[in-house]
Structure formats: structure tokens, C-alpha cells
């Protein structure tokens, strides 16, 4: 299976090593298929991050190779992508782990009292 490649066992956070751009793309695709330009616009809106077009395609290819997204039939020149079930699961695992980290961080800030 593509997911259990170099990144190891199932259930592990495969998104930990793919980079911020890939995670943002997955988040953006979570509510429905999008193509390149729509992705860039959406990510700018939801995270305030301006994704470079060069970064975008690299990340899309990587996500596809990992089986986390899949291409839909081309619409004219545009190639929309859709998140796969694996991708959704991986995103959930990743967001959970982010949440744990952010909760721990907040707690420590509180304990530190700075």
C-alpha cells in the first residue's frame, strides 16, 4: 500500500513529514475537489499562506504518490483533485496530534506563567 511506504506502520502520522504545504492542501481538499488555482486562493483565505505555484505541484504529486489524494477527470485544462479515504484518515490523525501538541503547549505556557 502506498501509505505504508517509507513512513512506516499504519495509524502513524504520515503527514508529519510531508510539510506544511501538503497539509494545507489536504485541509483545503477536505470539503470538496479543487484544482490548482482554487487551492491557492482557498489556502490564502483559510490560513493566510500564499502557496507558490512551484510548491503546489510538488506537494500535489507527493500527496498523490502517498495515495492521500487522487486526480479527477480533467475539466478543460484544469485537473481537479479529490481527497481519498486514506487521505481523510491521515488528516484526522495529523490534526489530532497537532491538537495534542497545541494543548500541551498552552498548558505549559499557563504553568510557566510568563
Amino acid at each position: 500500500m502506498a501509505v505504508s511506504g517509507r513512513d512506516g506502520r499504519a495509524g502513524q502520522d504520515v503527514l508529519r513529514r510531508v510539510g506544511e504545504a501538503s497539509v494545507l492542501i489536504l485541509i483545503s481538499l477536505a470539503d470538496g475537489p479543487k484544482h490548482g488555482y482554487a487551492l491557492i486562493q482557498d489556502i490564502k483565505e483559510l490560513a493566510g499562506v500564499e502557496l507558490g505555484p512551484g510548491t503546489l505541484y510538488g506537494a500535489l504529486d507527493r500527496l498523490e504518490r502517498l495515495g492521500l489524494i487522487e486526480p479527477l477527470p480533467a475539466d478543460d485544462r484544469r485537473h481537479p483533485y479529490r481527497i481519498t479515504a486514506t487521505g481523510a484518515a491521515a488528516l484526522r490523525v495529523h490534526l489530532d496530534s497537532l491538537e495534542r501538541v497545541s494543548a500541551a503547549g498552552r498548558l505549559r505556557l499557563q504553568l510557566g506563567g510568563i
Binding site: Y37, P53, G54, G58, D61, R77, H79
Partner: protein, 325 residues
Amino acid sequence: MDEPRATRLVEAVLRCYPARWRRRHGDEAAELAALLIRDGTPVSSVAWSYLAGAAREWLTSRPGRRLSTAACALLVAACALGIAAGLLPSTVPARAAGTSPAPGRAHCRPGSVPGVIPALGHPRVIIWEAWHGRADPRRRRRRRALAETGVIIVVAVLLAGLIRTFAFQTFWIPSASMVPTLGVYDRVLVQKAFFTWRGVREGDIVVFSHPPLDQCGAPQEQGDLVKRVIALPGQTIYSSGNSIYIDGRRLAEPYLPRYDPLGPPIPDASRQHPYRVPPGEFYVLGDNRADSCDSRYWGPIQGSSIIGKVVLTFWHDSHPDLHRF
């Protein structure tokens, strides 16, 4: 930038991607760039982003090729090899023009670069074959690996040649005329990039092509020479005792040993009538004044004949030794 030019630039950058990528994303990427530029994204930032993406695309893994790390390593090795080959084996004699011919000159052969790189290249090919060369379907991959290695070797050779020609070149010193600063068999690094003879200063050690009036060495020893610049264009020079006077003031020469007899004096020059160096020319002397064939014999050298400035000795007194000038 107007629109057609921006489009052309983006198209040019997109051509940097591998063909496989272009078949897949090329059209959409071009359209995306046009949309982004229309939205006010600077053309340069779009172009840079695609350029960086193309570089990543070439360097990172593709399907069916798990050896991307090895490929990267090879690329880095090629660069390192290119630099090393450019600096180390390209040794050419910088005859210090000692009045006595130097021993062992026949050993020196300039430009051994091409011989070095294949020698280092072969083991890599063998390793690659050992990794891939077992099953039949892998033959194609092996061929590709071989081609890749070939490309790397070619790139390394080109890089080495470029560095040698334009940036840095090493020379070795076959004679004793720059003793004690540079001994026989010392190796020096000569800076050629960002160097013009107009920037040469008093006290610099320079490598220059053989002056036409040099009669000191045997006819076959007509290579490049290395000497220290003593007087700049337009300055006056004369000698008295073991001291040299530039523009009337005594030249402090901290690079010389405490007692360094001058040997032959500066010819045709006295306190009353010092010699004036013509514009665009330099008066050069060897540090081993008593045993050096230099401007005292063949006059000042043309600034345009200066090849570069010695910036570093990396081999001194028969062992590796870094010393910056």
C-alpha cells in the same frame, strides 16, 4: 512586465521541468501562472517558484526510482569533485625563474583533470551495477544509471575546467627565487576571478606570463612566472645597499628575512635619477633577491600579462600547510 513577455518567461521556466511533469501539469501550470499574475502576483515570484519547483522535481524521487538520495549524493559529489579537480590536479609550473634551472621540472604535466575524474567515476558505476544489475527488467534502469553517471562526469569535467579557467588555478613553484616565502615544490592557489591587474597593490605576489625579454631560463622554460610586485605604474625606484627606495622612501619589506642581500642592484637607477615605472607596467622582484631573475634583468612587466594574484599556499616545505596572503 507586459503580458506577452510574462507569458514567455513563464513558458521558458516551465520548460525546465521534466517532460513527464509537463505532460501532466504543464497546461494547468501555465494557466495558473497567468491567473496569479492577473491577480497581482509579481511575475518574478511566480517564475522563481516554478524554477525552485523544477529543481526539486529533478532532485527528489520519482515513481520507480527509490534511489533519489543516491542521485542527490552523486550530484553533490560531482560538484565537490568538480571543485576538487579544478583546484588540485591542474598544477602548472609557475617558474620562479631562479637563475639556476630547477630539478624535476620534467615531472610536471599541466591539466591532468580528465585523467582524474574517470578514475573516480568507475567505482561508482560498479556500485550502481551491483545494486541494480541482477534481474533482466532492471537492465534499463542500469543503463539510465550509467547515463546519469556519464552526465555527472561530464558536468564535473566542465565545472573543473570552468573553475580552472575563470576562478582559481593552482601552480607549483619549481625554483628558489621566492625563498623563503615560497619554496621549491610549494603549491599556491591563484585567484583569477574578481581580479584585474589594476587592483594589484605593492607587495602582492602575482603570477604572470613569461616576459618577452627574459633570457635567464633555458628556451623550453617559457612558462608563467611568480614574483612580488615592488613598484606600481608611475612610481620611481632605485636601490642603495640592500634597500630599495620607492618614490624616495625606503621600502619596508616585512616579508623578507632580516638579512637578504639584494644581489644585483636596480639597474640604471640612482637616488638622483631613479627609474620610473611606465604606465600600465609593474616592477617585480623575487624574494630571494640574490638569486632571482626578475625586473632587474628584463624590466617591468605589462599589467595585462598578470594572470592572477597568489592568495594561498596550501603546500609548503613538503607538507600541507595553509597560509593566506
